[in-house]
């Protein structure tokens, strides 16, 4: 089963533009994480935000978390062609938080 749903399913932008992806989930969480997956490859961790945090930054990435709405967003600023990939949110439930449950993903295409 998949807890999170990402929106949009696909996003196509030009280099230099910002990309925003949203994730909604269903149950209480301990933390939420974002991962990136290049086509045919494994997933790479981008950033983790805990349930008591509202915003976090890492380089060109900005993540927000709204636990009242059970939603998160990932913003990639000044996108590059190399950012083309699928992006997944993953939630660690409040109980049994060792298990990560992934969303359905957003496929991002950044054109030069």
């Amino acid at each position: 089963s998949q807890q999170g749903e990402e929106d949009p399913q696909a996003l196509s932008i030009q280099e230099g533009e910002n990309a925003t992806m949203n994730c909604s989930y269903k149950t209480s969480i301990n933390n939420l994480q974002w991962y990136r997956q290049n086509s045919g490859r494994g997933l790479v961790h981008l950033i983790l935000i805990r349930s008591n945090e509202r915003e976090k930054h890492s380089g060109r990435l900005r993540v927000t978390l709204d636990t009242s709405k059970k939603s998160s967003s990932l913003l990639i600023t000044a996108s590059r062609a190399a950012d083309t990939a699928s992006y997944f949110c993953a939630t660690a439930p409040d109980t049994g938080f060792q298990k990560l449950v992934f969303g359905t993903g957003t496929r991002l295409l950044v054109s030069p």
Partner: protein, 118 residues
Amino acid sequence: GAGVSQTPSNKVTEKGKYVELRCDPISGHTALYWYRQSLGQGPEFLIYFQGTGAADDSGLPNDRFFAVRPEGSVSTLKIQRTERGDSAVYLCASRGFPGTSLNTGELFFGEGSRLTVL
């Protein structure tokens, strides 16, 4: 090793056959996870081990699927009587014990084993 290693990278088999997929986690990582990813979907949780024992196997779809980790390091995912619907990429991930420096919350993934059942 330096990263999570999965073998084989590709496996083509016929319906009804038995398949084993292997995962070698990062050295020192006590937790090991198996996920299944179908085309265009997110990874679907199958099972996770803490040490040698399966801490949560709630994602295994049926009794044709079984996983072991006898020495707390390498794990093998075993699929009996394969069906065409088992075709997917099987991903393995690992991380350290909670509360230690080897666990920052993130999972480290291997490149996956692509299984095709004809």
